[in-house]
């Protein structure tokens, strides 16, 4: 059938005709190929306009229609309907946009007219190739998703749910209520915000048709109108909402306090919290932000934040329990740990790290002083016996973890006493043996059996006695040799032997002059012990620089205080002897060269710099190695001479035999040995339970990303009291430990990086057993037909406006902060007080802060005039005799009863001053201004610059889009206007729909508005949704993709790019096929098809090429 085209040019009043010569354009169109008729008319969308088209279709036999008018988003559906009513397939219609694309964007009439002609020529060419298509309808899922639980979300959800259709209400905070819950009273009626809101909240919580998902966020949205699929992330709350009774016992015992965001940080809350007492759901939430650096860094994973938090609350016994969840060595590690935790401590970025090691020691001291209750024996639930060989820190830590898992454990120790190097390697003045005894006896009390004087050299012996697994932790006790002449001479002692002999009470006689070779802890310990044994002159000879000495810094310092001499960058060349007995050492000076494998700069001898030192004894402390003779046979070793084990599981080459500590790592820190013991315990447990040793082992803890250091006051760490130098004669401990006051002060400096410290005090307190610290984020996929966005606003932060002094001057508050201050449920219970606790005599409120200002927000926030006046009224109610000043530019009291409220305020004696203040300062110019906040401004109605001293200033901050509005807009595919708020489809006629069908907006996420307007919008959105549900089906575009099976190569790229899973593969024919019911006509597959086998109906290549040609001709 030959195309017969009608062209209709609309004037749109003067919108188009003002710029485009419509008559000329129509005349031009008349001359185009296949055009039967072309007309222009004032309003083509009006009834007469529509009639004209219908009549022409019938009388002139038109079979194609082009209307040149506004945007298709506005009237394409109108004209399609016109065609349909006249008996024409609606897809025989094409629209040319000569308004938005033409008349509105230029004032040049000639150019506009020319462009209009081109657009029409293009549409005429295109419509020539149009094909009849059938529109399709799909059913609408009757469920609705409401995103955001403020008053808008609450109202919309309730309205839809009341019609007995299911609503999912998602709120990211722990409670619904939004900003309205924070307000005191509402203008202009002054009804209490909580009184009108909380019943609605409760209703939401108990409504049978509402599924409330708090502390949840929408993660992903797919699908289309009527058929959305939404993935919701339910953040781990660590409290079972169904079990929690809201009794708040957990809150009482929680040791972690932080600024209360919901109270605008005017007060503190706990890590386990409920934003406000009327919260819905009335359940607590535990705030976890990740693991603190101290805990993440500790090789053994000791929860330092946990016990530090409890110490800060004076709960010392509970604190040590936290430590004992990981290991038994409070007193040991509290003295000798290398405290990597302190290096990483975030507080160190502010001033100094928390003295974590000293606090750990404090807990042990406290317990020792108060007396420890005997540890209750663990019930042995497992049958498999485990043998641990060696009772040093690694062996004890492993046994400790295994016995608590219920395994019977026996420790075999060669030496007469337990503790390994803790006892024999570390001198008394650093680690008294009674501490080692006590902490090992704690492990024994749990049920671990320790057999001293029992060397084990044959694994088969052990296995034969019924032990199913073995942990080897025998340490590295053999002293390394230097390989210099005469190192076996009389008077040369090895540090470990020396320390061990001293420690076990043997008489060790030293000469007056002692040289210690080495720079590690053993060297420094040996030097200080030598000093204590009476040696007059003790020197440490170390070949690298002081900064590279591996010993703990404080130990080196203390050694220096005790007059141990450091010979840095000096290496011994030979031991000098007389009669086979030491009488000196020959040394050579060194300098630092290139870095070596360890990353430290390699010391290089300086030529001819040899010199002699006269000494009576030489103590070698250059390192220890594993004594293979002491170990069972059959084991494999590394090149370094240590035991070879799997780096993850710590299993040796012999099945069921694990090893850790110095025997594997070579000489290392206590805490690393403890860590190895713990890791082995995990392996042994898995081994005995026949679980894969590697798969599913606990993952390393993830360090918290950001730690707020806002408003942290600089405060140095508590200094450790030490023994006076003169009193350090014998082996009395040098460090004296914190007292209770110092410990609490120190612990209070902790920034609580992870927020919740996982001290687990709440678990004990919770009678409902609602708390579960192991909860994980969960995802739930829901299907809904419609979505309403009610995500609200953020209050403007006036910090960047330096001139108003917010956060710089005391008693300058934002209006939202003041709402909490004046609220009877707020932090001061409604008492309006200044920072110093007194009551103000004068308060000024400033309007338009952040609004009507091109530097911040150009728009008027619409609510500030009214809420400022409301606050003024409340101030008069709360503080009798107070002077209140309102600084305004224009009073906008446009709502029902609003102007009347303004009048009421005028008569209540509020001082209204017209003028935007230029500055708020605390610099007084006269005695009257002393101690006040002075506002400098022009009283514009008088035309005079004035200064007004007041006690308090309330900044009427505007409303702005949520900081993540952009991400949310992208998630839901809605657009935003220039001010950042979500954009409605039409500002007047479609105020709650968006450009994406099935997604609606309501409340302040669409723009600043007051509560009445918000509720009206929410109900409008609910009505839109109910209309959709009620109709039950929705029309979808007929423009779907079609695969030309003759060309399709079956590569299936289209299946990958299709967002609606509408393409499937025909296995028989080896071609792809589009399911029309699922296809949304997005065109992704058309572009993706490498063989051009896919065409999109109504957007065929033919049609688009014709359109372009028409444009260019």
């Amino acid at each position: 059938m030959e195309p017969r085209i009608g062209v209709y040019v609309c004037h749109c009043g003067s919108n188009i005709a003002g710029t485009v010569d419509c008559a000329e354009v129509a005349q031009f169109a008349q001359g185009l190929d296949s055009v039967v008729v072309a007309r222009d008319y004032k309003f083509m969308c009006s009834d007469p306009g529509q009639e004209m088209i219908k009549q022409d279709i019938k009388e002139l036999g038109l079979n194609r229609v082009v209307v040149a008018s506004c945007s298709p988003t506005m009237h394409e559906p109108t004209y399609r309907r016109v065609c349909q009513e006249a008996g024409l397939n609606p897809y025989f219609f094409e629209m040319a946009n000569i308004r938005e694309h033409c008349s509105w964007v230029t004032e040049d009439k000639q150019m506009a007219t020319d462009k209009a002609k081109a657009l029409i020529a293009a549409a005429v060419r295109r419509v020539y190739y149009h094909q009849p298509l059938e529109t399709r309808e799909v059913p609408v899922n009757p469920n609705t998703l409401v995103v955001g639980g403020g008053i808008a979300g609450i109202q919309a959800a309730l309205k839809i749910a009341d019609s007995e259709h299911k609503v999912y209400l998602v709120e990211r905070e722990p409670s619904i209520g939004g900003h309205m819950a924070q307000l005191d009273k509402t203008f202009p009626t002054l009804d209490c915000s909580a009184c009108i809101l909380t019943p609605k909240m409760t209703l939401v919580g108990s409504h049978p048709y509402i599924e409330l998902l708090t502390y949840s966020e929408v993660a992903e949205v797919s699908g289309y109108v009527g058929n959305f699929k939404v993935n919701i992330r339910k953040k781990a709350r660590y409290v079972d909402v169904d079990k929690c009774t809201g009794c708040s016992e957990c809150e009482k015992v929680c040791p972690v306090s932080l600024p209360h965001e919901w109270e605008l940080k005017l007060t503190q809350r706990k890590a386990v919290y409920r934003p406000f007492a009327q919260a819905v759901p009335n359940a607590f939430t535990i705030d976890k932000r990740g693991y603190p650096p101290c805990r993440v860094t500790c090789p053994a994973g000791v929860n330092a934040q946990g016990y530090v938090a409890l110490i800060s609350e004076g709960k010392f016994k509970e604190a040590i329990e936290v430590l004992r969840r990981t290991m038994p060595f409070a007193g040991v590690c509290g003295r000798v740990c290398t405290h990597l935790c302190e290096t990483e401590c975030e507080r160190g970025k502010v001033d100094e790290p928390i003295a974590i090691r000293s606090l750990k020691r404090f807990m042990a001291d406290y317990e020792l002083r108060e007396g420890r209750e005997k540890a209750p024996p663990v019930e042995l639930t497992k049958e498999d016996k485990v043998a641990v060989i060696g009772s040093g820190p690694a062996g004890i830590a492993c046994a400790y973890d295994l016995i608590r898992l219920g395994y019977p454990v026996t420790i075999f120790e060669t030496a007469p006493q337990t503790g390994g190097l803790l006892r024999y390697g570390i001198p008394e003045y650093r680690l008294p043996n009674k501490i080692v005894d006590d902490e090992i006896s704690y492990v024994e009390e749990l049920g671990v059996e320790i057999k001293t004087n029992t060397p084990v050299t044959n694994l088969k012996d052990v296995m034969g006695r019924g032990y199913k697994a073995v942990f080897l932790a025998t340490g590295a006790l053999a002293s390394q040799k230097m390989g210099i002449p005469n190192e076996d001479a009389k008077g040369v002692i090895h540090a470990l032997d020396f320390l061990q002999q001293v420690s076990s009470g043997m008489q060790v006689s030293l000469g007056q002059r002692v040289a210690v070779i080495g720079g590690g802890n053993a060297a420094v310990d040996a030097a200080r012990v030598a000093k204590r044994l009476g040696a007059k002159e003790v020197s440490i000879v170390y070949r690298r620089s002081r900064a590279e000495m591996p010993a703990i810094e404080i130990e080196i310092e203390e050694a220096e205080q005790e007059e141990v001499k450091l010979h840095i960058l000096v290496a011994p060349v030979r031991v000098l002897t007389e009669n086979d007995r030491v009488n000196g050492i020959e040394c050579i000076r060194m300098e630092l060269g290139e870095p070596d494998a360890s990353g430290r700069r390699r010391p290089v001898p300086i030529e001819s710099s040899e010199f002699n030192m006269e000494v009576d004894n030489v103590i070698m402390a250059i390192g220890q190695t594993v004594d293979k003779a002491m170990l069972p046979k059959d084991l494999e070793y590394t090149n370094q001479g240590t035991l070879s084990v799997d780096s993850v599981t710590l299993q040796t080459n012999v099945e069921g035999v694990f090893a850790g500590g110095d025997v594997v790592s070579g000489p290392a820190d206590v805490i690393k040995a403890v860590a190895a013991g713990k890791e082995a315990a995990i392996s042994i447990d898995r081994y005995l339970r026949r679980v894969d040793l590697k798969e599913g082992r606990p993952a390393p803890l993830e360090r918290v990303k950001e730690v707020s250091k806002e408003e942290v006051e600089i405060k140095s760490r508590q200094s450790m009291p030490v023994l006076e130098l003169g009193e350090r004669q014998d082996f009395v401990e040098v460090e004296l430990g914190f007292d209770e006051k110092a410990a609490i002060e120190e612990a209070k400096r902790c920034l609580n990086c992870g927020v919740c410290s996982e001290c687990l005090a709440c678990i004990k307190a919770c009678e409902a057993e609602a708390i579960n610290h192991d909860m994980k984020d969960e995802y739930e996929e829901i299907e809904v037909g419609n979505i309403i966005l009610t995500t609200g606003f953020e209050a403007f932060d006036p910090t960047p406006m330096y001139q108003y002094g917010y956060k710089r001057l005391d008693n300058v508050l934002t209006s939202l902060e003041f709402e909490r201050l004046v609220n009877s449920a707020g932090p001061t219970e409604g008492d309006i007080v200044l920072k110093d606790g007194t009551h103000p005599h004068s308060i000024a409120l400033i309007h338009c802060v952040g609004s009507r200002d091109e530097k911040y927000h150009e728009y008027c926030s619409r609510v500030c005039c009214m809420y400022s006046m409301k606050l003024s009224h409340l101030i008069l109610e709360h503080v009798p005799g107070v002077q209140v000043y309102e600084f305004y530019i224009d009073i906008r009291s446009f709502g029902k009863g609003y102007e009347e409220f303004y009048n009421r305020l005028l008569n209540e004696g509020i001082n209204f001053i017209r003028g935007r203040p230029a500055e708020i300062t605390d610099v007084a110019e006269n005695p009257e201004e002393e101690g006040k906040l002075i506002i400098q401004f022009e009283d514009t109605l008088i035309g005079l610059q004035r200064r007004l001293p007041v006690d308090m200033v309330v900044l009427g901050v505007g409303l702005e889009a949520q900081p993540d509005a952009e991400a949310v807009a992208r998630l839901f595919n809605v657009s935003r206007s220039a001010d950042g708020f979500f954009m409605e489809k039409h500002p007047k006629l479609d105020p709650v729909a968006t450009m994406t069908d099935g997604i609606f907006v309501a409340g302040c996420c669409q723009g600043p508005k007051d509560i009445p307007d918000t509720v009206a919008q929410a109900l409008a959105a609910a009505a839109e949704v109910l209309a959709m549900i009620s109709r039950g089906r929705v029309e979808v575009e007929a423009s779907t993709a079609v695969v030309d099976e003759r060309i399709c190569s079956g590569c299936q790229i289209c299946m990958l790019v299709c967002p609606y899973s509408a393409v499937s593969f025909d296995e028989e024919k080896k071609v792809c096929r589009v399911n029309e019911a699922l296809c949304k006509g997005c065109g992704a597959c058309v572009g993706g098809c490498p063989s051009h086998a896919i065409n999109l109906n109504h957007f065929t290549n033919e049609q688009i090429m014709a359109q372009m040609e028409g444009m260019l001709v």
């Binding site: 001139q803 338009c848 009507r852 200002d853 091109e854 530097k855 530019i889 224009d890 017209r914 003028g915 935007r916 203040p917 230029a918 500055e919 400098q936 401004f937 022009e938 009283d939 514009t940 035309g943 005079l944 610059q945």
Partner: protein, 184 residues
């Protein structure tokens, strides 16, 4: 009352005057102005008067001559109005259109300053101050005399003017400017 439209058009057409119509009369300019209380009309009011077409009252006022060019008003203005630039425009218009200004001697100072530069290519302080005080109030010169003497003894105040090189070129530049000014 002068013509209601032409004066604001005139100001809006000058550099810095573009946004004068955006003024919402909030008064932050006058509030921030350190010289507002010296002025006959504060900056906000001057803008209102410009909009009201009060050409004679504005151009004969002392307000703009008190402007210290601290730009506080311009920095604080929420609408992008530039009251400092507008003040300079008004000074220029007042001078060009021969308005007699009451209550300030600043125009005399400016005139002497410009004359000195025209002649020498640089400022001759002694000459400027002498002429300024002779035209305005010779007794007031006594107040600044100690400072002047101190500067003199520190060799910071040469008695005789010293011209720059290439004064002929400077004269050409000034001549060119006058031609352009006459055309516009």
């Amino acid at each position: 009352m002068a013509d209601m439209t032409s004066f604001i058009d005139e100001v809006a057409a000058t550099p810095g005057g573009e946004h004068i119509r955006s003024c919402i009369q909030c008064g932050i300019c006058s509030g921030a102005c350190p010289a507002a209380n010296e002025m006959e009309y504060p900056p906000r009011k001057i803008i209102a008067m410009i909009r009201a077409g009060m050409r004679d009252e504005v151009l004969s006022s002392s307000s703009m001559w008190h402007c210290l060019s601290c730009y506080m008003c311009t920095v604080r203005c929420p609408r992008g109005v530039k009251p400092t630039d507008i003040a300079h425009t008004l000074e220029y218009l007042a001078y060009q259109q021969g308005f007699k200004v009451k209550g300030t001697t600043t125009p005399v100072m400016y005139q002497n300053f410009v004359n000195s530069i025209k002649g020498n290519g640089r400022v001759h302080e002694v000459g400027i101050m002498l002429r300024y005080y002779l035209t305005t109030n010779p007794l007031a010169a006594l107040k600044v005399l100690p400072v002047g003497l101190s500067l003199f003894f520190h060799k910071r105040l040469p008695l005789l003017p010293k011209g720059v090189k290439g004064r002929e070129d400077l004269a050409k530049i000034i001549q060119k400017f006058k031609e352009i000014e006459a055309r516009s």
